[in-house]
Assembly symmetry: C2
Homo-oligomer: 210 residues x 2
Amino acid sequence: MKKILYVALALVLTAFCLMACSNSSTPEKSVMDNILTRTSIRHYTDQPLSEAQIETLLRAGMAAPSAMNVQPWSFVVVTDTAVRAKLVSSRVNRMYAEAPCLIVVCGDEVMLRKPHDAPADAPLEARPNDNWSIDCSAVTENILLAAHALGLGAVWTACWPYPERYGVVKEVLGIPENVMPLSVIPVGYPAEDPAPKDKWKPEKIHHNLW
Amino acid sequence: MKKILYVALALVLTAFCLMACSNSSTPEKSVMDNILTRTSIRHYTDQPLSEAQIETLLRAGMAAPSAMNVQPWSFVVVTDTAVRAKLVSSRVNRMYAEAPCLIVVCGDEVMLRKPHDAPADAPLEARPNDNWSIDCSAVTENILLAAHALGLGAVWTACWPYPERYGVVKEVLGIPENVMPLSVIPVGYPAEDPAPKDKWKPEKIHHNLW
């Protein structure tokens, strides 16, 4: 009788083990699932983000690739209620007042580079950076994906290239010349649960030639 | 004696089960780990990608957000050896010939929108899309992250805004007017294993005001 019990115990444990293994998502599945289920969240609860959560989002942002590894980005994290309210410039971005945290992704429009073919000790030269908005877009996407992975809701609101938007953001936050806010990302605990959009359109794919 | 064996078996299975559970990464951890460990891969083996892998990469790309949900993107997947060789325009992109697959991310510079305040049945109007390069940058980053999750290596090579690069790509691939290749992403099984860069710089973070 005891023998049967031990065998049963072993079988139950094996079954449990197999179930645990099959349920644990592979890294590949998690990453793809996170990309495919992320969607814009525009309403948030009052619950503030922790310092650790904000740091995780910024670490994701700074892990983005950049042309010639210039890393032209910087960030303003806005949690102050009065500052958030001042950033609301239209109906489009009224959620700035609701989200407990805004991450403003800024790019340096000018980069310091050694002139081409100059000696190693040549002074650096200021040149326009043609890639700042591209690089800061990758940063913004990384932050959106990290927010979704953390169970937070976020949305990409455009700042550049709209003077009526980046003008307000630059003035309120005191952002210096040559630095341009590309996006403002409100982040918070979601107070809505919209279904992700299915944007898969195979007709947009060409093979070898257009 | 048999009793001891059964108990031992049960204990071994329990231990295995606990190990499996503790090793299974949480979705949050997988997503962040994937973002933080992704790095540019510029050398690839000959092994071609499967149709399923290419579809996964394109699904990730098309899941990107876009301004006003315009989804201004389209893709050319180049696997043909002769076409890949023709796309090499400089030392900078010689890996186009080596990678078994190139994904060219294109954006529509013009969008069709109803004029502001027009009635529902008003004809659509062609307008410049100020956001195509931003949206296609998010697409590119999603593809790079998906490639890394699949164990593939990839690198963002810039096409726009460099006429000497996008000129070649548009001509070789027959990309129509008003459509602009933003990036060319070589993808393959990695033939190098570079360490990811640590780009974390807390001094780039400002709080509430710059």
